[in-house]
Symmetry: C2
Subunit: 332 residues, 2 copies
Amino acid sequence: MTTLTRRSVMGGAAAAGAALLTSAPSSSVQAAAPLSGQQAPGWYRYKVGSFEVTVATDGVNRFKFPDGFVTNRSREQLNAALAASYGQPGPDMIAIPYCPCVVNTGSRLVVIDTGTGEANFKNSKGAAGQFQANLKASGIDRGQVDVVVISHIHGDHINGLLAPDNKPAFPNAEIMVPAPEWKFFIDDGEMSRQSSDRMKGVFANFRRVFDALGRKVTQYEAGKEVVSGITAVATHGHTPGHMSHIVASGNSKVYVQADVTNLPIFVRNPDWHLMFDQDAQMAEATRRKVYDMLVAEKMMVQGFHYPFPGLAYIEKAGNGYREIPVPWSPVL
Amino acid sequence: MTTLTRRSVMGGAAAAGAALLTSAPSSSVQAAAPLSGQQAPGWYRYKVGSFEVTVATDGVNRFKFPDGFVTNRSREQLNAALAASYGQPGPDMIAIPYCPCVVNTGSRLVVIDTGTGEANFKNSKGAAGQFQANLKASGIDRGQVDVVVISHIHGDHINGLLAPDNKPAFPNAEIMVPAPEWKFFIDDGEMSRQSSDRMKGVFANFRRVFDALGRKVTQYEAGKEVVSGITAVATHGHTPGHMSHIVASGNSKVYVQADVTNLPIFVRNPDWHLMFDQDAQMAEATRRKVYDMLVAEKMMVQGFHYPFPGLAYIEKAGNGYREIPVPWSPVL
């Protein structure tokens, strides 16, 4: 530690005047660089054939999970799994990321799911509601978005359809919703038959968001392209009309799964039933079918609730699966 | 797909004049958003106690690996391991990331290792040599760096000490090099005893870089702090004086390992001897000792050759270990 640096000399000059230039001791004059306090903007881009996929995180929500959060496992079992998965906040707390993505097919700019909404940025003290800010950081103008494809109508997927003023967050975009999902949740009879507060809330939030949009949506069916190169796949169970999307260009594909699983701990434990799975048995059957296919086809999956950037390959592991994150590429 | 969007109408207006505003058909006027072609800047920040650690990737180098790249395993075994690890370019090719990092202790701004050098950006067509650009993107001014700590003198760790004009890349920084590393590589007798072209090249590159710096360095010893909060650890084997660094603040620690392992496949297979390990037996013993400690202490490791951002926890797995990437936090 004997080297006088040019900076320490210059720091000395600034602090004490030019007369001290040659004698300022290193230890007393070196100024501290300020701490930044800033995280990197949360976006990542990759190619699928000629398409560009941009993941722009909406953030991470931390909350105390209620009893029955995993309906067929105990609080202790969930706590043990969370502790073993690292990066989780601690007993009885869970951190869930949100990773919406955008596909530029070259002729259409397509958002798939929208996050918790900009209004939530303030409510969550910046923890979530980041999607629009990260989208902007990635160079994407919300006004250029042609289509917003919704996988299912839970709040963390649809709330971002609205700006804080309840105007459309993507002012020029067609909004596409799975036909069976729309049919179920638009049905006042279905709504009246709900007994749980949570499900009543899901119906109410659905109406809040889509009423603000004048219920102006395009319904889409499984097995068909929502836009050229993006095919809807029926992955019902989590909700009655839940859909996933295969983005394909050239020889390349990615499976945008939405909520086929939630966090990776549910990839490891596909038989664990999260309280958000409306038909838990169907959700589990869907999960195993999709994940067996991802393993067999060695297809990349884009996980809405995986840690950012949420892109992985899947392997079999024990009674379940393991996600292998795709290495970050520093070039596109 | 029946909804006319405001954008399609506006596109029509721009293309064909205001008179067509109400009749422009959606299909013919919707302009394509341009593909971006840009990757996100490659930096990520996390806290260690009150310190900020910023990882800024230098990029990824892809190359055809030579015979004997893993000295005690066949080409076929290496190819099989690379194929099983995903994200690798294919037979006989390997992709190796470089993840230098910067620690802001609040009173010192400390770069740990420097990447392949800015001059390499052009040579590699942008694949590597990105460290300075990503550092700048993260808001860090190279002129504010107080100290550069070098783990060992291989080119991908020291070449970034020089700007393309062979002037210091960190003009105001003290440069710290492990004392046993300096002693070995500065020794003309050691140089004269080298028989392999690779080792002759290592010595020559060492002289190229440090001669340009006037051999003006501070030598540091294992077991001592290089700056307050950053302690050098002897992890010899990869090179005679290879050092790692424990960054500690409050109750939090991260182990900045440098080349204790290279890619994660060598985490899985700690008994595989990479040709860059100068004393392969010592390197393996060091690797096992360090990784057993990381498992026992549940300490995070920052891997220079892990995929960006290179931060992970370590678990035992079979005869080796497995890295569990720390989930990306969208807030600092």
